[in-house]
Amino acid sequence: MTEFQTIHPLGDVPPQSVESGDTSGITLNVRHEISMVQIFARNGREMELAKKLNIEGVPGRASETRSFTAFPLAPGQWMLVSKNAPGSGFGTGIAKKLKGIGYVSEQSDSRVCIRVSGSQARELLARGCRLDLHQSVASKGFCAQTPMAQVGVLLHQVNDGPTYDLYVYSGFARSFWEWLAHTAGQFGYSRGGRGH
């Protein structure tokens, strides 16, 4: 009998890189071992929920807490991303905290997270992202939901390196990766290890 194994949407993407030449290039990582939940505040309980989780609801700004990063998706709605692996009980823990004031939808499998870093990461993203990511406009903590290469992406600027996390729907992950890697070729890129 075949042993049960879980798979990752980008699990079979071959390791690949393009020499960066005289540029400092790009590093692409697939972040495994993360958990995601989408949370909703009950009507009228938005403030209470935000306070309970110590997060903010400022559009376009991610809130960092000790155990997760929260991305506001809509009024009273956030995506929480934790560095804990799926199955670690992250979603259950959040659900317990939100009992009576909100709801939790497990989404760990719904998207993959691709980390793009390197001095030319911004230029790479500009090939597909219509948003203004210039340092004078977007800095660490910036987040947005936006289409890139015809695919809906949740974009998060992790640091001012700059490093970005792109959360892409699992079904589109392979297609999106192919576009990203192809486009990154002009800058030179390397595929990092399993990012966390």
């Binding site: 009998m1 075949t2 049960f4 194994q5 879980t6 798979i7 990752h8 949407p9 079979d12 393009v18 989408q38 909703f40 009950r42 009507n43 009273g76 709605q77 799926p86 199955g87 709801y103 939808s105 497990e106 989404q107 760990s108 499998d109 719904s110 998207r111 500009a126 090939r127 597909g128 992202c129 219509r130 948003l131 203004d132 210039h134 004078s136 406009v137 290469a149 015809q150 695919v151 729907y169 699992s170 079904g171 589109f172 392979r174 297609s175 999106f176 192919e178 576009w179 192809h182 486009t183 070729g185 002009q186 030179g188």
Partner: protein, 996 residues
């Protein structure tokens, strides 16, 4: 030296230490790095570069820039062959290959030049006059002739091996054009710290500046340009994009530009695109687009060797090439004297300056002082010579004086038209300025301003001052601080004498206005005479201003001649509206990455590899790839589908149903929300149960269907059709946010979180019992029909639904994406002893047709619930979306087409979707059609072809009747019997599974 016409010195853009080889029409030549193909050909004494469109007249280059109408060639070869490349902007590279186009058999001897003999018949609008009769010749004869004659160049027939990409950028100030005004604007704006983007079409900045003769801030202009670029490059907040044409100005200051990243090399380096299409979002725009010089309209003004005055100067000063050894300059403005100065400085003979103006301007006096012959009030009448100009006859406007001058180059100038293309794209109608003899931008509609020659300022000092001011104005208009600005760059003020309007020189031969389309002054007169006197009509009738150059050198002259013909002032004629693109953009650039298999992103399910492993043939379902069928070796499509659907009913099948839309719904008011979204009731659905639901659009027609399960008191899972998943979510968002914000209901897509399989057939329960062993009890008692359970299996959460689309005992199992393959494998292995087969979307469809279940073909946006036989589901005890409008007279009319079943009653043949149902197959037409066939299949369960159809009168009127399913495309009209759509197991006995 790289050719007979290369000057021994000069040429600010060429690098004489880097010789390059190239070929034109099979002949080898050499040039220098920095040359354009046109400059390199001229340097080698090649003046004949193309043939005109209609008359196939020999043509050389008229201009030295992107407005070139004549010197249009095919570049490269094979898959990279590219027609209609302007030789004047094609940068030379080693090994460049170019060929002339629109000629046969050669450029020198073109048989179609005989068209000139027919020119009396090939006047404006000849298409409309010549090809009128006999009507039977239109398609077989005339169309073929026209198509063969039409067009310039040949597109490559192989796929383009190069890549193209899209990119986005944002800025506070976009400066278009890096001539003196544009550079001054970029400097003043850039120094404030604003984000500035400067785009320039050419490979070098400086615009029309003369590198040595023009002085700025006390320096040679070439040095000033270099220093300015260096300063801009050093500013982090400024980006310069060279070889980039701003071709479109759209709403909200969104602009589009084409960057020719690797057009100047033979092949793009690895991983580099050939071209990049930029979308620019600019807070403010400075248009410093310059102007286009116009041709004087005299007989034979299209001969090779006749060029615009500025182009002659550009070839001499930028490329160190002389277009001729003895030049006559004909001008109506001061700029012709600049050309004279440049030629004299380069040691080239200026035989005569013929100034149309009668007053001797300051520039003319200076020229005379240097010994140049200047004649005032003298106009060119006719260029002489064969395939190259050999002389010019001239006369005064009143015909009082005439002479012939030998020359091998005529430099002509009828003044300058400010380049108003981009501003016109914003919706601004350009206004006529008599002192400029051109149209200039009117008040801006968008956040833009013009500077320099683009708004009719032709003196250098003025251009610099305007550019500087425009840059600062743009910064402050963007809401940024300008600080204390440096003084604007300075140039010596020069008094420019006004130009004289000369729209048609004396003569009655062929005097071309639009060189590319072979439109003569007479054609414009004729258009007006024949009633096409509106500028837009005249444009279309004559083709003036069309094609690759978009009339940059010809529009204003054409408008002026039309005004003359109409006997009205020019402003009353007005301009045509310029539209994007400003200059040609390859389709490849518009497509970018999105071509071939990357045309749209592909969506794969978690079990894609499982399907591949079992030999699935995939079909695109929206963006999803779904297994369509699994052919065995030697098996055809129909056989595979037949086998799969048969075996599901006999043993069991597994089907990937991950693509169904899944929406998780939370909240205390979820039940109420579903009640309002669906036509049927939901309040009594208990946790652990699923129900079929149908939703309508606001207009009362059926929108979508699917099952929704209650997972907990305040937690539901809705499924939608694959096609409507996103639309249903948007519909619900609208309902929740706009219609009923008071309801405590929240939802999100779970389509990608969960993947799913359907396991159907008599053995389904046994297979799942084995696959999930101790994890879940799938017995009828523990999991009855329409039951739903959540369970833990192999460390993951799974959901099982006892629902059936096939009419068999069936289950759907959902697990998170990552566990999909593991689940498929577990079920597959468990099913090996139970005859489990994989089945695809085709067999899925056969099984549901046999059951009379509606799907996408029946949910076509024109049908009501009652049409589908589901009218009784519409609750009368609660309101729901679409309820009111579903009650409209036409929606409940008795004669509406209703869902019925059809059986093919003939032994051979087949049914086809789309066929129309008629009583008399010999009288089949739109009026006699009683309905149409929506879905068909060759049914193993029924033993013949069956179908679903919408039939006026439905079963009530037609049950058991014989009709014909007419399909005119296939010329078929098989006989069918009208039956109930529930072909197979109408009582639903098989849902229970085999009797134990």
């Amino acid at each position: 030296m790289s050719g007979s016409n290369r000057l021994s010195k000069g040429g600010s853009r060429i690098d004489r230490t880097r010789p390059l080889r190239f070929r034109f029409d099979g002949r080898s030549f050499s040039g220098f790095a920095g040359d354009t193909l046109a400059s390199a050909l001229l340097a080698n004494g090649v003046t004949l570069m193309g043939r005109s469109f209609k008359y196939h007249r020999p043509r050389g280059c008229l201009t030295a820039g992107s407005e070139e109408p004549n010197a249009i060639v095919e570049m490269r070869s094979g898959a990279r062959r590219e027609p209609n490349t302007r030789a004047t902007i094609a940068e030379l590279y080693d090994g460049l290959e170019a060929t002339s186009q629109n000629r046969f058999p050669s450029l020198k001897f073109d048989i179609q030049s005989l068209n000139q003999l027919l020119s009396p018949f090939l006047t404006a609008g000849f298409y409309y006059k010549t090809f009128m009769w006999p009507a039977s010749f239109w398609e077989p004869v005339y169309e073929k002739i026209i198509r063969r004659s039409a067009g310039l160049g040949r597109a490559a027939t192989e796929p383009d091996p190069d890549t193209y990409e899209h990119a986005n950028t944002h800025c506070d100030v976009l400066v278009v054009g890096a001539g003196p005004a544009g550079l001054a604007a970029a400097l003043s704006a850039g120094r404030t710290g604003a984000r500035v983007l400067l785009v320039e079409e050419q490979a070098a900045a400086g615009g029309m500046l003369s590198p040595d003769r023009d002085m700025i801030d006390g320096k040679r202009s070439a040095d000033w340009v270099e220093q300015s670029q260096a300063e801009l490059n050093a500013l982090d907040n400024v980006t310069i994009m060279m070889r980039t044409t701003l071709f479109g100005y759209y709403d909200h200051n969104v602009l589009a530009a084409l960057e020719r990243v690797n057009d100047h090399v033979a092949e793009p380096p690895a991983h580099q695109p050939r071209q990049r299409l930029w979308t620019i979002r600019a807070s403010e725009v400075v248009l410093a687009c310059g102007s286009h010089e116009r041709a004087l309209t005299f007989d034979n003004n299209d001969k090779p060797g006749v060029m615009l005055s500025g182009a002659v100067r550009a070839f001499v000063e930028r490329y160190g090439v002389t277009p001729g050894k003895r030049v006559v300059i004909c001008t109506n403005n001061d700029d012709g004297y600049n050309t004279a100065e440049a030629l004299i400085n380069a040691g080239i003979e200026v035989a005569l300056i013929a100034d149309a103006r009668t007053d001797l301007c300051i520039a003319a006096q200076s020229a005379r002082e240097t010994g140049i012959r200047v004649e005032t009030g003298l106009l060119p009448q006719k260029a002489l010579g064969g395939q190259n100009v050999s002389g010019l006859s001239l006369q005064r406007a009143d015909g009082s004086f005439s002479e012939k001058v030998d020359c091998d180059c005529i430099a002509m100038s009828a003044g300058f038209s400010p380049d108003v293309h981009l501003v016109s794209q914003t919706g601004v109608a350009p206004v006529w300025r008599e002192n400029v003899l051109g149209f200039v931008p009117d008040k801006p509609i968008r956040r833009e301003r013009s500077a320099g020659a683009g708004q009719g300022t032709f003196d250098l000092a003025g251009c610099l001052a305007e550019g500087h001011a425009a840059g600062l104005d743009a910064v402050s208009s963007a809401g940024l601080k300008t600080g204390r600005a440096k003084a604007p760059p300075k140039a010596k003020a020069v008094e420019i004498a006004p130009p004289l309007a000369i729209w048609r020189c004396p003569g009655n031969g062929k005097a071309f206005v639009d060189f590319q389309n072979d439109v003569t002054a007479r054609d414009i007169h004729l258009a007006n005479q024949e009633g096409f006197s509106s500028v837009e009509h005249a444009k279309r009738y004559t083709t003036l201003g069309m094609a690759t150059d978009q009339g940059k050198t010809s529009n204003v002259t054409g408008i002026a001649l039309l005004a003359t013909a109409r006997g009205e002032p020019i402003p009353d004629v007005g301009t045509t509206r310029f539209r994007p693109p400003y200059s040609p953009v390859a389709i490849g650039a518009f497509a970018g990455h999105e071509r071939g298999k990357e045309f749209q992103p592909v969506r794969r399910t978690a079990m894609h590899a499982c399907g591949e492993k079992l030999g699935a043939v995939f079909v695109e379902a929206g963006q999803w790839l779904r297994p369509q069928y699994y052919p065995k070796s030697g098996e055809g499509v129909m056989e595979a589908i037949y086998r799969e659907s048969k075996q599901v009913r006999e043993t069991a099948g597994i089907c990937d149903v991950s693509t169904l839309g899944k929406i998780e719904i939370f909240g205390d008011d979820s039940g109420e929300f579903l009640n309002r979204i669906y036509i049927n009731g939901w309040k009594l659905l208990a946790p652990g149960k699923a129900r079929y639901g149908l939703m309508l659009r606001e207009d009362g027609y059926v929108f979508d269907d699917g099952t929704t399960s209650r997972l907990a008191d305040d937690h539901y899972l809705m499924t939608t059709t694959t096609a409507n998943a996103a639309r249903v979510l948007a519909h619900m968002e609208h309902a929740s946010q706009v219609l009923w914000p008071d309801l405590d209901v929240h939802f999100c897509s779970a389509t990608e979180q969960w993947c799913g399989v359907a396991v159907a057939g008599p053995n389904a329960r046994a297979i799942l019992a084995k696959a999930f062993a101790d994890a879940i009890d799938v017995s009828d008692e523990a999991l009855p029909f329409m039951g739903v359970r959540t369970f833990e299996w192999s460390g993951t959460t799974a959901r099982i639904f006892r629902i059936s689309f096939s009419g068999e005992l069936a289950f759907e199992v959902n697990v998170p994406w990552s566990a999909g393959e593991g689940m498929w494998n577990a079920i597959w292995e468990a099913g090996q002893d139970h005859g489990l087969i994989p089945y695809g979307t085709e067999a899925l469809s056969v099984l549901r047709i046999e059951k009379g279940h509606v799907a996408g073909n029946e949910l076509d946006g024109r049908t009501t619930a009652a049409d589908m036989g589901l009218g009784k589901m519409m609750s009368t005890k609660k309101p729901f979306i679409g309820q009111k409008l579903a009650g409209r007279e036409g929606m409940v009319a008795k004669d509406r087409a209703k869902l019925v079943g059809l059986k093919l009653t003939e032994d051979s043949g087949r049914l086809r979707g789309g066929a129309h149902l008629v009583i008399d197959k010999d009288n089949a037409n739109a009026e006699t059609s009683l309905g149409w066939v929506t879905s068909v299949c060759d049914s193993p369960a029924i033993g013949c072809w069956i179908g679903l159809a919408y039939l006026r009168g439905g079963l009530e009127e037609h049950d058991g009747k014989r009709l014909f399913a007419v399909n005119p495309i296939y010329d078929e009209a098989p006989a069918v019997e009208v039956v109930s759509p529930h072909f197979f197991d109408p009582q639903g006995e098989r849902l229970k599974g085999p009797v134990r």
